[in-house]
Amino acid sequence: MLPFLKNLSYNRGMRIVNTQEIQNCVYRLARKAGLSLTDSCRSAMEEAEKIESGAAKFALNTLLENERTAKREQMPICQDTGLSVVMMELGQEVFLEGPPLSKAVDEGVRRAYRDGNFRKSVCDPLTRQNTGDNTPAHLHVEIVEGDKIQISFLPKGFGSENMSRLYMLTPSEGRNGIIKSIVETVKLAGSKPCPPVYVGVGIGGTFDSCALLAKKALLREVGSRNERADVASIEEEALEKINALKIGAQGFGGKVTALGVSCELRPTHIAGLPVAVNIQCHCVRCEKEIL
C-alpha cells in the first residue's frame, strides 16, 4: 500500500486487515464445516430419530452415527463437500490490504480442500472438466456498518441444490401461493435431495436477489423463526404441510420430511412476487467467524 494511503486510512480510523487473515479464516471454517453438522441440525435430527420407526429410523440412526465416525476418523461427513459458498459481511470501516479478496478466499478453499481430503466437485458447465481444487468459491459480499468482518462458510451439496426452484408469482397469489410453491418444491424433490431437508426460502426482491435470500435463509439455525410474525406463520404452515407429505428420511416414508423452513424477505416490485426455494439436505454444515 502507498504510504500516504496508509496514513490517510489511519487518520480516518480505518481498521486495516490483510486478506491473508481472511484466507486463513476461510481455511479454518472450511476444514471445520466438512466434518460437523451445525448443533441445531444435529438436535433436529435427534428429535426426528425419536419419533420415527422402520427404515426411516434406521436411516437417521445411521446418519447420527456417521457424524461420530466422521469426527473420530477425521473424514468428511458427506463425500459431497460441495460448492464453497462464502457469505461475507464486510464493515465499511475496514481497509483491506494484501492479495485481492476473491483470490484470498479461493486460496483458503484450495488449501482446505487439499489438506482435508475433501472432494473437488467443481467443473466447467459445458466441458465438465474439473477445476481440480474446488475453486472458484461463490463469494457474496455485503458492505455493512462497523469495522468487523463476518464470514460464513456453507459447503453446498448438489443432490439438494438440483431440487431447488424459483417462482415468479403474481401479487394476487400472495401467502397461499408462497406456501404452495414451497410445498410443491419439496414434493417434486421426493427422495432425491436426501431428506429430511432444510428449506431456505427467499420472498420478494428481484429474480437474482430472491435466490440469494433463499441461500441466506439457510445460514439461520434450524428451527429458528423469522422475527416478523406473518413470516414466521408462513414458515410454520409450510413445515406442517411438508411433513404431511410423509416422504420421510431418505424417502423411506415417515413423519419428518423437513427439519425446518426458514424464510427471508425484502421489498419487491408492485407487479411481482418472486419466491425462491433452496433445498438443503439433512447435512447442514455451516461455520461462522467474526474477524
Binding site: 476418523e73 468428511p76 461427513i77 463425500q79 463437500t81 473437488k120 481440480g132 431418505q250 439436505c281
Partner: protein
C-alpha cells in the same frame, strides 16, 4: 441384520424384498454421470468395457481422496435418478444391480424386474460410514475424471436398504 456377500445368485436376489435392511460385502464398481456417458460411448462403438458388466453391482458414488492409512475417503451415494437414462440398457446387458440414493424411474424399475436385478438404497449423507467400510479401492478407468472415475472397491458390511426388488416392488 441380514448379511449378504457378492456375487448374488438368483435365489438370493429373489429372497430380498423392498424394505429389507442388509449389510453387503464384496466387490462393487463406482460410476456416476460422466463415467456412464463414457461407458455408453464404448458400447456404441462396440468396444470392451473396463470392467465385467455381467453380474456386477454399480455404486453411484464419487469418493473423497483417501486420507493417509485408509483405502478410501468419504464415499456415500449420489442421487440415482440422474442415471435413469443409463440403467435399463446396462441391466439388459447383464448388470446385476445398483446402489445409490433416492427413487428411480418406472422404466428402471421395469428393467430391474425384467432382468431379475436389484436396486439398493444407501443412506445418503453417510459418507464417513461408507468410506470406512471400503477396504480396497483401485481406479480401473477414466482416471482423468478424478472422483468421477470408475473404482473397483472391496467393501465390508455396507448398510443398505433394498429399494427396488427383483419382483419390481419399490420402497418409495
Amino acid at each position: 441384520m441380514k448379511k449378504i456377500i457378492l456375487p448374488l445368485d438368483e435365489k438370493e436376489i429373489n429372497s430380498l424384498h423392498a424394505g429389507d435392511s442388509v449389510l453387503l460385502s464384496g466387490t462393487i464398481y463406482t460410476a456416476r454421470d460422466c463415467a456412464h456417458r463414457r461407458i455408453f460411448e464404448l458400447l456404441d462403438k462396440g468396444e470392451k468395457l473396463p470392467f465385467p458388466l455381467k453380474g456386477a453391482i454399480i455404486y453411484y458414488a464419487g469418493p473423497c481422496p483417501a486420507p493417509a492409512g485408509k483405502a478410501c475417503g468419504s464415499c456415500g451415494p449420489t442421487t440415482s435418478a440422474r442415471m435413469n437414462a443409463f440403467a435399463p440398457r446396462l441391466l439388459d446387458l447383464g448388470l446385476c444391480g445398483m446402489i445409490g440414493k433416492g427413487e428411480m424411474s418406472g422404466e428402471t424399475a421395469e428393467a430391474i424386474r425384467r432382468n431379475k436385478g436389484i436396486y439398493f438404497a444407501a443412506i445418503g449423507g453417510a459418507g464417513a460410514t461408507y468410506g470406512n467400510a471400503i477396504k480396497k479401492a483401485t481406479c480401473v478407468a477414466f482416471e482423468d475424471l478424478l472422483s468421477e472415475a470408475i473404482y473397483r472397491m472391496e467393501v465390508e458390511d455396507f448398510p443398505l436398504v433394498v429399494a427396488i426388488d427383483s419382483h419390481g416392488n419399490s420402497i418409495y
